[in-house]
């Protein structure tokens, strides 16, 4: 007789489990607006910004060749723009156009327009970090001009503009002239009192009559606001100190005529150690670099002890030059992208308390002390230069 209530309870449980869940968010993947990238740009709205979402059209992605008519098939993406009083408001306003809430978990790239960056990221970054849909590992990119220009530009190889941007970012390590910056790294810098946030810069270039997007250099922020940009050389200089160099080409001049020799960076290790000596601030920069001789002008042969010595020295000089130019630029922009302030904070927590408020004026007085050891470990496929014997 005891069975009946228990069976009833079981049925109740099952009913509750499935019934309650009627309001669960269960969406078929084909119905999801798969957002591959999000952009924030300036607009004439009173709020001053608009949001652009790039949404994939999976059926177009599947087989771009066999779709529709030959050649000019439909793009595999669609861009939607919307404004609002806050970012989230703008994103929800997209729903009116799209027909469902956008699904941002797969937006691996977040683009910020130049205007927005210049005005300050303060009001825009919170949403992206707070919203559980947006991944903290999404890449931040600042555009040279408008976001729309980049997001509307159909890439030549890929199907979707933002995917192509992500691919470019991933391969930045071959030049080390820009950097991948994730949302969480970016925010981490914004939360630091002294360290300046950086973000890669995307622009549009002519490429044989067609336009193509590229990413090069870094945008440097000061107090949420874009302070300026580092060019290739300055970027590399910054990356040396941040120990983010993977690969890249160092062009060093030949002694006699200044013709360039290409040395590929194979590996690099850097340590920046701050030091307080009296009233002087010093940062020791210790770099261990290995390169390979990858290209040289025909005729000259560096395969000798002297030649190697010269190349090593030239590498060290080039590295030092890059770092110095980056440092000078950062002084000029009144920023601290190297994070020297943080280094001091960590090593001298007590002294730091007094220094913190004067950091802007202390920063330019930092003396960089270099300890760069380079080596040339290989010469690739040929050992001698191409020259008649």
């Amino acid at each position: 007789m005891k069975i009946k209530p228990r069976l009833l309870l079981l049925c109740l449980c099952i009913a509750a489990f499935t019934g309650f869940s009627g309001c669960l968010r269960s969406t078929e993947i084909s119905d999801l607006p798969l957002t591959l990238g999000l952009g924030v740009d300036k607009s004439d709205d009173p709020a001053g910004f608009k949001i652009i979402a790039q949404i994939a059209k999976p059926s177009q992605l599947k087989n771009p060749a066999s779709g529709g008519g030959g050649g000019s098939s439909e793009p595999a993406y669609a861009n939607f723009e919307s404004g609002g009083e806050t970012i989230f408001d703008a994103i929800r306003n997209l729903t009116k156009m799209i027909g469902d809430r956008i699904f941002a978990s797969h937006s691996e790239v977040l683009l910020f327009g130049n205007g927005i960056a210049r005005e300050g990221m303060r009001d825009y970054i919170d949403f992206f970090l707070r919203n559980p849909d947006v991944r903290p590992s999404a890449y931040i990119i600042v555009t040279q001009s408008t976001v729309k220009e980049i997001m509307d530009l159909k890439p030549l190889l890929e199907n979707v503009p933002v995917t192509s941007l992500k691919r470019i970012l991933k391969t930045q390590e071959f030049t080390s002239e820009t950097a991948k910056v994730t949302l969480i790294e970016f925010t981490s810098c914004l939360m630091s009192k002294t360290k300046s946030a950086v973000a890669p810069v995307a622009g549009v270039a002519e490429n044989g009559g067609k336009k193509a997007a590229f990413i090069s250099g870094l945008a440097v922020f000061k107090n949420y606001k874009l302070a300026g940009t580092f060019n290739r050389k300055e970027t590399r200089g910054l990356l040396w100190v941040l120990d983010k160099i993977k690969k890249g080409i160092l062009n060093v001049p030949k002694k006699e005529d200044g013709k360039k020799i290409a040395i590929e960076i194979i590996s690099s290790k850097c340590k920046a150690i701050p030091e307080i000596k009296g009233t002087k601030l010093r940062v020791h920069i210790k770099i261990r670099e290995q390169g390979s001789l990858s290209e040289q002008p025909v005729g000259d042969d560096f395969i000798s002890l002297d030649g190697l010595e010269y190349l090593k020295q030239a590498q060290a000089d080039a590295i030092k030059d890059e770092i110095m130019s980056a440092f000078n630029k950062s002084v000029e922009l009144k920023t601290d992208p190297f994070g020297f302030g943080e280094l001091l904070h960590k090593k001298y927590p007590k002294e730091w308390k007094n220094m913190e408020q004067y950091w802007d004026s202390l920063y330019p007085t930092i003396e960089l002390v270099f300890d760069i050891k380079t080596s040339l470990v290989k010469t690739d496929a040929i050992t001698k230069s191409v020259s008649p014997e």
Binding site: K2, I3, R6, F17, T18, S21, L24, R25, S26, T27, E28, I29, S30, L32, L34, L36, A56, P58, S59, L61, K62, F103, S105, H106, E108, D133, R135
Partner: protein, 535 residues
């Protein structure tokens, strides 16, 4: 809950059968008469009811009036034994002059001097007569004797020993049990030639009187286990036992669980191995499936070939088997949970491909999965029950028409077909758990459809707790995984080299646990003086 059901059912059964039980008691008390004619009169009613019963009256010695009778069932009895060892000696040899003197009607004389059949026993109760008659023995009734003789001449017409249908192997013994309990016992006896191996026979089924034998190794099996088995078998009170499945369902610990707690096998070598690990086997006449208890969950993942192959491959295959069980239970559910709830967990490129594949499908993924899984079950059932010649038609219709066309028509997605196919194939790897896997697959599908990953985890927790609470004849079903037994991990997820199997599984065996005696481990054996060097 199960216990209550059982109790109610038992009570009902007992109530209804009280009358029958009374009748049985009355008959049991009845003894056979000294008068042959009276006995035959009694038997008439039985004989008339079945056309296959033969009663042959004849004369022993030189009497002219029939003074003896044989009763047997045509077709069950070996005619050779009847003619040459029973009728001939009784009718001819008894007539020899020197033998005619000593009382011909003396049943001792007949048994000891005349009958040349091998297996003879006596009876005095009428009930025994009937039992033996229907077991296919020859009944000899002699006028003037208060006892009758049973001459064993049972000759069941069974098929020969053939490779088992369900557990085919690449390496190892190819013989399988048959429908005859005698053959089956002899097959097992050939594997373990030792007086340790004993069989205890009982008859179960009020109408069918089916022979059931409990086999175990006296020196290894836990006496408490044997007692428990006999107790549970004794409690069975049904009409007929047509297959060992009947016995299984009456003796299992958790009749309402979806997991089987009694194992079965068709292979003598497998049953022998289980007996050597301290288990008991239950043979049932009329089926090649022999039950073994207690059953552990991991037994479902062990095959006899694991022990015949070398350990590396055997271990790898066993791990794959575990994986297959999880795939067959969870694959559709996980797919549904990922594609309808946790899309952020799918890599972007894969997600785009999946989205493109699902674009034209008019149904939600859950319905789609439910549909294909049901179709698969239908196909499977049809494939089994369908006559052989039609079988190929089913596979063509199933694979081509349903699968191919449904995808091209855009009714179901190609990915779902892949998932279900994988699920189905994986399910067949672990044959012992096919039924539990099938049920769980649907349950988890519903859970995943209702609450995604949360539903799956909750479901797994319930199943896990259920498994942990299950027992098979007192042994925790999940042992040696839970409770964890370090020594037995050698034969759980992996199969260690046989050399390292020094002890029997201690989760089952309580005494005499040593099974190997390599010199290096002599010390261990001293600790267990009961240990014998068995294999």
């Amino acid at each position: 809950m199960g216990y209550l059901f059982k109790k109610i059912r038992l009570a009902k059964l007992l109530n209804e059968n009280r009358k029958n039980v009374d009748l049985d008691d009355e008959r049991e008390q009845k003894l056979i008469s000294k008068d042959l004619g009276e006995n035959i009169k009694d038997l008439r009613s039985v004989i008339d009811s079945g056309g296959d019963i033969v009663l042959r009256e004849f004369c022993i010695g030189n009497d002219n009036k029939p003074n003896a009778a044989v009763v047997f069932i045509e077709g069950l009895v070996n005619k050779d034994i009847l003619d040459a060892s029973v009728l001939k000696p009784l009718m001819f040899l008894s007539a020899l002059p020197d033998k005619s003197k000593s009382g011909l009607h003396d049943i001792d004389f007949i048994e000891n001097n005349l009958l040349s059949a091998g297996n003879i026993s006596r009876f005095s109760a009428y009930d025994e007569l009937i039992d033996n008659l229907f077991s296919g023995e020859i009944i000899l009734l002699v006028g003037g004797a208060s006892e009758g003789l049973v001459i064993n001449a049972f000759d069941p017409k069974t098929r020969a020993v053939e490779p088992p249908m369900t557990e085919s192997v690449v390496r190892g013994s190819r013989e399988g049990f048959t429908e005859s309990i005698r053959t089956n016992i002899s097959l097992l006896r050939r594997k373990i030639k030792n007086p340790d191996l004993c069989f205890e026979k009982i008859k179960i089924g009020k109408k069918s009187k089916t022979d059931v034998a409990v086999a175990y190794l006296k020196s290894i099996a836990d006496p408490a286990l044997i007692e428990e088995i006999k107790k549970r078998l004794g409690e069975i009170s049904i009409d007929a036992v047509l297959e060992s499945g009947y016995i299984e369902q009456f003796i299992e610990d958790a009749p309402f669980s979806i997991f089987p707690t009694v194992a079965n096998s068709e292979k003598p070598d497998k049953v022998a191995a289980k007996l050597l690990e301290g288990r008991a086997a239950i043979f049932v006449d009329g089926t090649p499936f022999v039950l073994t208890v207690p059953m552990l969950f991991i037994e479902s993942f062990q095959r006899s070939e694991d022990y015949y192959a070398r350990p590396y491959y055997a271990s790898m295959i066993r791990l794959i088997r575990f994986a297959c069980y999880f795939i067959s239970v969870l694959a559709p559910a996980v797919y549904i949970a990922l594609t309808t709830f946790h899309q952020e967990l799918i890599p972007t490129k894969l997600l785009l491909t999946l989205a493109a594949g699902h674009e034209q499908i008019p149904f939600p993924s859950v319905i789609e999965a439910f549909f294909i899984l049901t179709v698969f079950e239908i196909l499977r059932e049809a494939g089994i029950t369908m006559p052989q010649p039609v079988g190929s038609a089913v596979s063509i219709v199933g694979a081509l028409v349903l699968g191919e066309s449904a995808v091209t028509a855009g009714l179901i997605g190609p990915f779902m077909v892949i998932i279900v196919a994988l699920t189905a194939i994986s399910g067949f790897v672990v044959t012992a758990q096919i039924d539990s896997a099938t049920v769980l697959r649907f349950v988890f599908l519903i859970l995943a459809g209702a609450a995604g990953g949360f539903g799956i985890i909750m479901g797994m927790l319930v199943v896990g707790i259920h498994l942990a609470s299950l027992r098979s004849f007192g042994i925790p079903y999940l042992s040696p995984i839970s409770p964890f037994m370090p020594a037995e991990q050698k034969d759980a997820l992996i199969r260690a080299p046989l050399r390292t199997f020094i002890f029997r599984p201690t989760s089952i065996v309580k005494k005499n646990i040593t099974r190997q005696n390599p010199g290096a481990l002599r010390k261990n054996n001293e600790k267990n003086p009961g240990g014998q060097n068995e294999n």
